[in-house]
Each structure stands twice: as C-alpha cells, then as structure tokens.
C-alpha cells in the first residue's frame, strides 16, 4: 500500500524541541493529498474501462472532447456503482481507524482495536439478528426503524460488548491488558456462537446476505446504504475531536486526568457510545473489516506522536485512503471476480500486528 506520506518521511524543522505539532500539520496536509489520489484511483479502476476522468470532465465543465464518446453507461458506472463505493469506503475506513485510536486512548493501550476485543463481533451479532429475525420476531423493529434498523441493531450489539468489556477489564481506573484481550476473546467467541445459531436458522436468501459479514466487503454499496449509515458515522466522527484533549490527559491515568479537570466518566461514556455507533454502522454496511483500527493509528503515532488532536484527524484520512486502496486491490487482483476486502486487510494487517507485539515485548505487560 503506497501512501506518499508514509513512503517519504516528512522533514520539518521544529520551532522548539519536543513539539511535533508542526510536523503533524504537514503530515495531515499530505494525507489530504493522498486521499484525493486514492479517490481518483478508485473511481478510475474497475472491471469496466469507464473513465472517471472523462465523466468528471463532462459533469464539471460540460466540455466533452470530440474524440471521446462519453456513453451513458460510463456515467452510470462511475456515479451509481463506483462513487457510492468510494464514499462508503472512505466513511468505513475513517470510522474504523478513528475508533481504533479512540479505544486505544480509552484503554491506554496501543493494542485495543474494535475488531480484536469483540466490539465488531457484538455489532455483527446485532446486524445478523436483524437480517435473520427481521421478518419474524423483530418485525416490529424493522417496520419502525426502516433502513436504520440494521445500523441501530449493530450499534446496540457493539455498545453492549464495549460496556461489558469496560466493566470486566477496568478496575479502580486501571485497565489490565491481559484481562482486556482475554475478555475480548471470550466476548467475541460468545457473539460468534450466537451469530452461528442465527445463521443456522437462516434461509437460503438470508444466507447469501450473511456470507459477506464474516469477511467484509464494500461490494453492496448503494446510495441508499450511504443514506442510512452515513449520518451516523459522520455524526460520531464529528464528535470525536472534542474528546481529543481528554484522551491526551487520560494517557496519564484516570485519576490524574481527573486532577487536570477532565470529567473522566463523561469522557469514557461519550467515547464508548461514539465508538459503538461508528463501528456498528460500519459493520452493518460492510461486515467485519479487521486491522484498520490498529495499523493506522500505530503508523501515525510513529510519525506524528500520540497527541490525539492530530492523531484523530490523521487517522480518519489515512484510514479512508488505506481502505480505498485495499478495496482497489480486492476489486482488481482477481478481476472480474472480487476478493472480500476483509481478506486484504487481514493479510496485510495481521503480520503488522505481530510486528507490533515483537517490538513492544516488555512494554506491553501481558
């Protein structure tokens, strides 16, 4: 995955020692450019040879070069197939990366990730429950909530998982890493078992809907889906920057953050609700896409430091870019068929995770 900002380390003369805010701003600027490149690339790549450049030129300037025949088919492919997919990819990538960063700040641990500690599994359970039981037991819910039923169910599942996790892993303001990871494994296994029961009950049509949950895919992107999960993700992401200063203080421990004037309990619950909403919405629409939440914030911390005021926006940008690139790989590598994007992120993310564990040996007290 080639993102310019990672390939070339940024050299910025710091005005004062130990102050990485100038460098962080430069990196964020580069990440904006990187995202723009990734978006253009994603709009252009695909099984068909529809040219996004021509379509865009047509829409923006109304000037079609005489030698290119811009067909309605190209326009359709770019606007109704690729564009929703790109927007969804950006939303999901940004949500997963930012949620990873926030959870790591919350648990004071660089290994916390919604996918690893059972939050995504909880969300999947909620989503699968709606898909399988939506026509029978949960029919009143689907009738009442319409297209928001799926993301809301996923949100609820994620929220329950996160609250249980907080209760189990945090004692007197200290989070035990071992307890957190083990409790996450247990929660994930439980959620997956319950999901398994639901899948067992599902009929053939539902089974096809369910297949992609286990692997994750942006394949089903439509404007309607963006309409139902977009507002939730955007709202949750918009709230996160307000938590940045509090999360910074939380790095010193809950007690010390409190001494500094941070309302710690409120911060924790806002973060948990926000993370559950964004992860829930992402899972509802694209299934379980792993490792984005752990790889992106970790890379950025190496580059610009752990200050959440810069880490959160940078994570959103890099998460969006990387997921678009992963999706581009997933779409083209076995074209005209398509690889689930979760496989791409896991193949590149899992070794990275192991590398973090190797480097951190001794620091992470497991």
């Amino acid at each position: 995955m080639v993102d310019q900002s990672i390939a070339g380390p940024v050299k910025v003369m710091d005005a004062s020692e130990g102050d990485r805010s100038g460098r962080a701003r430069a990196v964020i600027l580069l990440l904006c450019l990187g995202l723009a490149v990734a978006v253009l690339l994603s709009l252009t790549l695909g099984a068909s040879d529809a040219s996004a450049v021509n379509v865009l030129r047509d829409r923006l300037f109304g000037a079609v070069p005489s030698d290119t025949a811009l067909s309605a088919r190209d326009s359709l492919i770019v606007y109704d197939i690729r564009l929703p997919r790109v927007i969804l990819g950006m939303l999901v990538g940004a949500a997963l990366a930012v949620c990873g960063a926030v959870m790591q700040g919350l648990f004071r641990n660089p290994l916390a990730d919604p996918g690893l500690i059972g939050v995504s599994a909880g969300s999947s359970l909620g989503a699968v429950a709606i898909i399988v039981l939506g026509g029978t037991i949960l029919a009143p819910m689907t009738a009442l909530l319409g297209t928001f039923g799926l993301p809301l169910a996923a949100f609820s599942g994620g929220l329950v998982a996160t609250l249980v996790l907080c209760q189990v892993a945090t004692r007197q303001g200290r989070t035990s890493v071992a307890t957190m990871l083990l409790a996450g494994i247990a929660l994930g296994a439980l959620a997956m078992a319950l999901t398994g029961i639901l899948i067992f009950m599902a009929d053939d049509r539902q089974l096809r809907d369910l297949t992609f949950w286990s692997l994750g895919s942006l394949g089903g992107a439509t404007w309607a889906k963006i309409g139902s999960v977009g507002p939730i993700i955007i709202l949750a992401l918009a709230a996160m920057p307000f938590l940045a200063r509090g999360l910074n203080a939380l790095a010193l421990g809950e007690a010390t953050a409190g001494h500094l004037g941070i309302p710690v309990q409120r911060l924790k619950y806002t973060a948990i609700v926000g993370v559950s909403a964004a992860v829930g919405a992402s899972v509802a629409v694209s299934g379980g896409i792993g490792f984005v939440g752990i790889v992106v914030p970790h890379l950025l911390r190496l580059l610009i430091g752990p200050d959440n005021r810069y880490l959160l926006p940078a994570s959103a940008l890099l998460g969006a870019s990387l997921l678009l690139l992963a999706d581009a790989v997933a779409r083209t590598i076995v074209a005209p068929a398509e690889l689930p994007i979760g496989i791409v992120t896991a193949i590149s993310g899992a070794p990275f995770f192991l590398w973090i564990l190797l480097r951190k040996r001794g620091v992470v007290d497991l």
Partner: protein, 257 residues
Amino acid sequence: MFRWRLGANASSAASISTRGRAKWWQSSAPTAPGKTTFLRALSGELAYTGCIALNGRDLSEMKPVEIAVQRAVLPQATTLSFPFTVREVVKLGLVGGRSGVLPGEDARLPERALARVDLDGFAGRFYQELSGGEQQRVQLARVLCQVWAPVLDGKPRYLFLDEPVSSLDIKHQLIIMNIARDFARRGGGVIAILHDLNLTAMYADRIFVMHRGGLAANGSPKDVLSDDLIEKVFDCRLRVGALPAGNMPFVLPQSSA
C-alpha cells in the same frame, strides 16, 4: 482559607480544621495506608464521609475543571502508555486549569517549568526513556504548569504532593522542596506527604503525623518531633537532635547553603 475535615473509612474519623494562608503542611508516618488514601480523598478521587472544602467551597459540589483551577496533584509515580515527549507531557498541565500567566505566555510555560525542576534541554526526550527520578520531576513540571501562579483571582491555590522526593538524589530533593516552599511563600498552599523527617523539619510550617489511619499529632516541627512521638509512631528508639559519635560522618539537608 482552606479547611478540611475528613472521616474516610481508612482513618478513624480524623477531624481537623485549619486556618491561615500561606501554610505548608506535611504529613509523615511509617509506611501504612492512610496518607495516600487521605490525599486521594482530598483531591476528590475517593469517596469520603465528612466535609472537604477548598477556599470555602465544598469539594463535592465543584466540577472537576473548577477543582483543577484551585489545586494540582502530583501522584507518586506516573506511567505513560504512549510515546509522548517530555514537552507534550508538561503541556498536559495546561489542559483543564488556568496557569495564571498572561495569555500569550502559556506557550513558553513548559520550558520555564522544566528549567525550574532542573530538566533544561529535556523537552525533546521521550518520557518513557527517562529514569524514575527524571520522570518524577517531569510530572512536577506538569503540575507546576497547572497552578503556575500561587494566587489566582485573589485566592490561594494548592499543590498536593505525594512523596515528591522519594526517588530523587539530595540535590534534586532540595530543588523540589525549595520550589514547594517558594510556592507557599508567594501565597499558595502545599500539602506534601514525606518520609524524610529531616526534610520535613526543615521545610514544613506544620506537620500532621498519621499513625494507624488516624492523626497522632499535629503542630509545628518543633512541637511535634519528639523522642516520645517517634518511638510511639515509628516503633524505633531515636533521639531528636542527638549528634552521632565523634568520627561518624553525617549530612543533613539543613546544612545546605
């Protein structure tokens, strides 16, 4: 004026009220639960029964950010989970409270605070790479940033220090204690937990001796530090003010010029 009354579970309903500004108190006791528990209740971290008032306002009725303006707390040790630089850690002191300096000067405060704790030139280092004593001084610099001006809006502000010199060499012990005394002289208040009786005698205006979760004695160093009290509290027969035999060297902080 700063009054506190405390009846936490750990202490046997110690009830003390103190008046007066510009005081600097220390509590001293053999290692046992009580002192830190007391300080944690005092900083609003622990549930307690009774009443703790900060500048005339009940602690339980104040918001965290209001309390943060009135007092700063230095814990015994602070571990960090992410690779923050020293400057970034010290700057966290400015997160919630009001340093009390002119608006434009906040940006330079971390450097000034680091210079005060004798960590000039450490701003760019990573906190996790420092020794325990250096980390403790970085945390003190952070705490100083939070309440840089000892008096704000005409009211004194307070430093709560939990064993601030426990892992420091004698030079830095004296530097830290002088910072604390200076803070008190300029109108603020300092409550510190110390184990070193000599430092306590040298710097404290008032000593509270805690024993078995309760208050064993309180008053000026001269009144409190007696052979009887030390034997009762520390279970050691020691004599206050006795010089060692002829050729035995000894060094007291009081001899510092």
